[in-house]
């Protein structure tokens, strides 16, 4: 099927060149590099709509990294062009723009999307065109796909660092609240997996529609169950109100573990204390961590380039280092050819990132991250604890009956979920 359509498309493309006419007139001044020109990178990050709060700094950090590379002479002697239309948090627009960036602008690598819904929306297009694609949001994990590099920390990495820490500090009764969609439900499953492995008790579990803003009934139920701590995988601007309502109801005494709050939407800055007091996030990076590389200052560079930026979030750092990861692979491959770059990446690579010395696992396309627990105190000051290096163990060691997923050995375009391995 794929082959047939591809060949038909190439016939067509040559027909188009022969006629040399394009009615596509106003395709916009986003700097469409177009086929045949220099190397081009596509950035699709939300700068308006529902996810703009998280997407904007991802877009800013990606641009920063590419501009830095260009200032230092470019890649393989060529300046990299950027195509970066705004997908407006709209998944059908994402599909459309992904097609455009691949077919019209012929991007050599693509950074796209905040939510996992977006990633799933464009994944068929990525697969059909075998496009090299970096997905940089922290996510539920399990994507094992030929041309996709999900370089953000996964739920197993994030929850794996923060849940045991809280259980040890505060007790083993956990109340789970999470956004009612794939990411939230799978994250909830991961907390359940951790509870099974360590004999914690799940005293309550609740999934909340993404457009809900009122948490009075949720708070009453939590008060009823009196958990030792809450695991919160709430998502988006609507759900943030939970933290505000928690402060109103003097619930700060019950600590919260999370994989979503603070490191992305910087709630600890946007909300007055004590809304986020005693919130513990499992993170790979936050702006407060600064830059762990020698003689570099990512945070300063970022704000110098984008003085109006709100926050440098965890995802933005992923965009930043993964651009360099790609650039290194291009240099080593000596070409922008996507398959060859992927082959180089699949050999595995060490990279020095602002968040520490990381390793790309070639077989699974995922990162070994330096994970840590970030805690907001009563003034919303951030402190870090429990630094640990965690690899993508779920994909590497657990799926396929323990054989793991190895993209160097076989082609795959799949996503594993915890219930493939665990009884949840």
């Amino acid at each position: 099927m794929t082959h047939e359509s591809l060949s038909r498309r190439s016939v067509l493309a040559s027909g188009a060149t022969a006629l040399g006419v394009s009615l596509a007139g106003c395709s916009g001044g986003g700097g469409g590099g177009g086929g045949g020109g220099g190397p081009t990178v596509g950035i699709l990050e939300d700068r308006s709509g529902n996810f703009q709060l998280n997407g904007t700094s991802k877009w800013q950090a990606t641009r920063l990294a590419i501009e830095e590379i260009n200032e230092n002479g470019g890649l393989l002697g060529e300046q990299i062009e950027i195509v970066d239309p705004d997908p407006q948090s709209d998944n059908s627009r994402y599909q459309e723009l992904t097609e455009r960036l691949i077919l019209q602008d012929e991007v050599d690598a693509l950074w796209a999307g905040y939510s996992s819904a977006t990633r799933e929306a464009i994944r068929p297009i990525i697969n059909e065109n075998e496009q090299l694609y970096f997905y940089t949001t922290q996510y539920e994990g399990g994507v094992c796909d030929n041309t996709i590099f999900p370089v953000g920390a996964t739920a197993r990495q994030q929850l794996g660092i923060v849940t045991p820490y809280l259980a040890e500090e505060f007790g083993e009764d956990i109340y789970i609240i999470a956004a009612d969609y794939n990411f939230g439900q799978l994250s909830g499953d991961w907390v359940n997996v951790l509870a099974q492995e360590n004999d914690y008790n799940i005293v309550g579990e609740e999934y909340i529609p993404l457009d809900e803003t009122d948490f009075s009934s949720v708070i009453n139920r939590i008060q009823d169950e009196e958990p030792d701590f809450i695991m919160s995988m709430l998502v988006g601007a609507n759900h943030e109100n939970f933290y505000a309502q928690r402060a109103t109801n003097n619930l700060e005494s019950i600590p919260i573990g999370t994989s979503t709050a603070m490191a992305q939407g910087h709630e600890h800055i946007r909300y007055d204390p004590p809304a986020l007091t005693n919130v513990y996030a499992g993170v790979s990076y936050m702006e407060e961590l600064g830059d762990l590389r020698e003689g570099e200052n990512f945070v300063e560079d970022f704000y110098e380039r984008w003085p109006d930026a709100n926050y440098l979030n965890q995802e933005a750092q992923n965009n930043y280092f993964s651009v360099y990861l790609w650039a290194q692979a291009v240099e080593e491959a000596g070409t922008f050819d996507q398959q060859e770059v992927i082959s180089v990446l699949e050999e595995g690579r060490d990279i020095s990132a602002p968040s520490g010395d990381l390793t790309l696992d070639g077989a699974t396309h995922h990162m070994e991250h330096e994970m840590r627990v970030a805690r907001a105190d009563e003034n919303h000051d951030i402190s870090f604890a429990n630094n640990e290096r965690i690899g993508p163990s779920f994909l590497r060691e657990e799926v396929e009956g323990g054989d793991g997923c190895d993209l160097r050995e076989e082609d795959k375009t799949t996503q594993y979920v915890p219930s493939d391995v665990y009884d949840v």
């Binding site: 499953d189 999934y207 809900e212 009453n220 139920r221 008060q223 946007r270 007055d272």
Partner: protein, 307 residues
């Protein structure tokens, strides 16, 4: 995979109090979200799809001065004023062309909504710092509820409805306004400046939207340019369930919808609460095509006819 519903609270006197507070919370929200839309719809027949953005202007009009150091109650006045001024401008330039074109008014105000929310993004950036809710909480048994959301706002909601009732029945303006709604031709013949009546009515609706925004600015959590939709759907549903009469309609619709919403959320979790609210709206529309207040009017007329 786990069932998506939460376990209900242990049944006790305390949990019934919790349910009552949840009901009040929901009731206050629906009344305040609806009343501005209801006035403009009930009195002028215009459906303002930018209603959420009017409220948002109230939110921004409150949050911006508050972050500049103005005390919250004073900042709230700023929110009301901003929305009112904006409402008058919109009425004079856009809405006054749509008084006899109800459906077109929906399309035009939808366009306006897009423009306003995106302009807020361009001008004020992706979010404003949020404001903490005042007044703290009341504790009972193991539970607590926010005084601001569950006591203060419902009281304000009732006060707004009482105030509107007085305005429309006890003042000369109210009588003129109602005359204009009933029969604009005759009203004009009697020397009422109907254009002015419409402008003032629209301004009142906008001011109430601004008030809602001002009051919810500290109870909204994040303040981002797309929060308008938080209010729009509930307001929409309540207006049609309530029917054309502003006060009776808003009051009865908010009562019915929040009973279902609060009980659903209380017993089965927030998802069921949301679904119940929408499903009740569909059933209510089918059973009472002119809304609750339309049904009450019919019933009264029938009774009068029988007597």
């Amino acid at each position: 995979m786990i069932a998506a519903t939460a376990a209900p609270l242990t049944f006790s006197a305390y949990s019934l109090i919790a349910l009552l507070f949840q009901f009040l919370n929901s009731f206050g929200f629906i009344v305040l979200a609806t009343v501005g839309l209801a006035i403009i719809f009930g009195m002028m027949g215009v459906i303002n799809l930018a209603h959420g953005e009017f409220i948002l202007i109230g939110v921004y009009g409150t949050a911006l001065p508050f972050h500049a150091g103005v005390p919250l109650p004073v900042a709230m006045i700023g929110g009301v004023v901003a929305a009112t001024v904006f409402g008058v401008l919109v009425e004079r330039t856009i809405v006054n062309r749509f008084y006899d074109r109800l459906l077109d008014s929906m399309v035009a105000t939808w366009g306006l909504a897009l423009v306003v929310s995106q302009l807020l993004l361009i001008v004020f950036g992706s979010s404003l710092d949020s404001i903490s809710a005042p007044m703290g909480s009341v504790a009972y048994g193991p539970f607590s509820s926010s005084i601001y959301r569950s006591v203060f706002l419902p009281l304000v909601a009732v006060a707004v409805l009482v105030g509107l009732y007085a305005l429309f029945t006890r003042t000369e303006f109210g009588i003129k306004a109602r005359a204009t709604i009933e029969d604009p031709e005759t009203a004009r013949a009697m020397g009422i400046d109907t254009d002015r009546m419409y402008t003032v009515t629209f301004a009142i609706g906008s001011a109430l939207a601004g008030l809602t925004g001002a009051l919810y600015a500290p109870a909204l959590g994040s303040i981002t340019p797309n929060r308008g939709s938080t209010f729009l759907v509930e307001a929409f549903v309540a207006v049609v369930v309530g029917g054309p009469s502003v006060i009776v309609g808003t009051l009865s619709a908010a009562g019915v919808l929040s009973v279902f919403n609060a009980t659903g959320s209380f017993l089965f979790g927030t998802f069921i609460g949301q679904m119940l609210l929408l499903l009740v709206a569909i059933v209510a529309l089918r059973a009472l095509p002119n809304g609750i207040s339309g049904y009450l009017d019919d019933w009264q007329q029938r009774r009068r006819a029988e007597e």
